[in-house]
């Protein structure tokens, strides 16, 4: 049997993905990492971005945001706050959210919650990238 990673992407409201994959690339809080079978046990915090995995030789994508990653014995658990497939992303809404966040960040108003606005912007951008670049045909 080929050596594979058991990838599970779980959000608080559902199990998004439960597959055996050849590799997975995902955004940690400070940059992307690629995991291959045989990876050492790892725990990390996730950022917002695109999660790419290879299933049956073909790459696939999810837009994920926030949460934690656990790797142990070739089992990769992605505990994300949200995870959407390209088909599920509402491009219009993501665009609006990105604009809103940008306005808030650029408003010069110091009372805004900077971290929240920035993470909203990242989330929206991640969704847009995934939706526009990898729309399933």
């Amino acid at each position: 049997m080929k050596h594979l990673l058991h990838l599970q992407v779980i959000t608080p409201d559902r199990m998004v993905l439960d597959e055996y994959v050849a590799r997975v690339t995902l955004p940690e809080s400070d940059g992307y990492v690629t995991l291959l079978p045989g990876h050492a046990a790892l725990v990390a915090e996730l950022g917002a971005g695109e999660l790419e995995y290879e299933l049956d030789g073909k790459p696939r994508w999810l837009a994920i945001c926030g949460g934690f990653l656990q790797v142990q014995d070739d089992a990769v658990k992605v505990l994300a706050n949200s995870a959407l497939t390209p088909a599920e992303i509402d491009i219009g809404r993501a665009k609006q959210a990105a604009e809103r966040a940008q306005q808030r960040l650029g408003s010069g108003d110091y009372t805004i919650d900077y971290r929240r606005a920035a993470s909203a912007l990242h989330r929206a951008q991640a969704r847009l990238t995934v939706a526009t670049a990898h729309m399933e045909h």
Binding site: A41, F68, Q70, K77
Partner: protein
């Protein structure tokens, strides 16, 4: 003795009520299933999360004997607390709200007697009305929230609580809700949301960390608060529908019993009136002879 007409009217009215309770029972059964599905769907996440949290906590504890400190773990003398009370928006769900409100009130009154100042945060209209009428201090209220709740909304709510707590506005946050056991059995429960108590046991496997374990634990703690709030609210929601379904089921059954009793009386009255009439005819005929 009630007249035939009165009895017929009453039977019709009970039958109408029964139709309503039966319809409500069916609706609650459907909602209960959906609510239960949501509870079940959230389990893989909380299981995975709990496992990671336990391991990280163990790793942090193992790394330094001095002990890890974090604002959310810090236990303070309780002088001001916030109590979250989760009830339903609508009635007709048996003793669901009454039970919860009763235990909530006891809890709050005990705290007040001990000299603690208590603010309430109500979720659900029933509890809100109850405590407002009795002029308890209500900090915040969420009405019409449970049915449409999303994880993101709960996250916001939890972050608000965390900031109250870490700014020292409250020394503890309690959650009073109804735990879901089965459709027929629910339990009023209280849970301490803040400060967080970490799982005690657990061993730490050899992990690679891309960031210090302490930092990781800190952000997990925040997430932990969100998650326990989310789960409790989901359970409360399922409990509500379970309680309503059971209540409506027994209401429907009671209505059946009542219809049966009334029909029996109706028949008896009708029989009695026939008998009287017969006697009258017979005795009239006898008088003529």
């Amino acid at each position: 003795m009630p007249s035939l007409l009165d009895l017929r009217r009453r039977i019709r009215s009970v039958r109408n009520t029964q139709q309503i309770t039966r319809a409500m029972k069916i609706v609650s059964a459907a909602r209960l299933r959906r609510a239960q599905d949501r509870v079940i769907a959230s389990r893989p996440y909380s299981r995975g999360f709990g496992e990671v949290l336990q391991q990280i906590a163990a790793a942090v504890r193992g790394a330094e004997a001095s002990g890890f400190e974090h604002p959310l773990l810090e236990r303070r003398e309780e002088s001001r607390i916030l109590v979250f009370v989760v009830t339903s928006d609508r009635g007709l769900c048996g003793a669901y709200n009454a039970n919860l409100v009763k235990s909530a009130r006891r809890f709050v009154d005990d705290k007040v007697k001990a000299g603690v100042s208590v603010d309430l945060h109500t979720v659900g209209r029933k509890g809100d009305e109850f405590f407002r009428k009795r002029s308890y201090s209500i900090r915040d209220a969420h009405i019409q929230f449970l049915a449409q709740m999303t994880y993101l909304q709960v996250e916001e709510m939890a972050h608000q609580l965390v900031s109250y707590y870490s700014e020292g506005e409250y020394d503890a946050v309690y959650l009073l809700y109804t735990e879901f056991r089965s459709a027929a059995s629910q339990m009023s429960t209280q849970k301490k949301l803040l400060p967080v108590s970490l799982p005690e046991d657990g061993e730490a496997p050899e992990y690679l960390f891309d960031q210090p374990a302490e930092e990781l634990l800190a952000s997990m703690l925040n997430q932990y608060v969100v998650l326990s709030l989310y789960q409790s609210l989901l359970e409360a929601n399922a409990s509500e529908h379970g309680a309503r379904m059971t209540a409506m089921d027994s209401a429907t059954r009671n209505a059946s019993d009542m219809i049966q009793k009334l029909t029996m009386r109706l028949n008896r009255v009708r029989q009695a009136s026939i008998t009287t009439e017969l006697i009258e005819v017979v005795s009239g005929a006898q008088a003529l002879e």
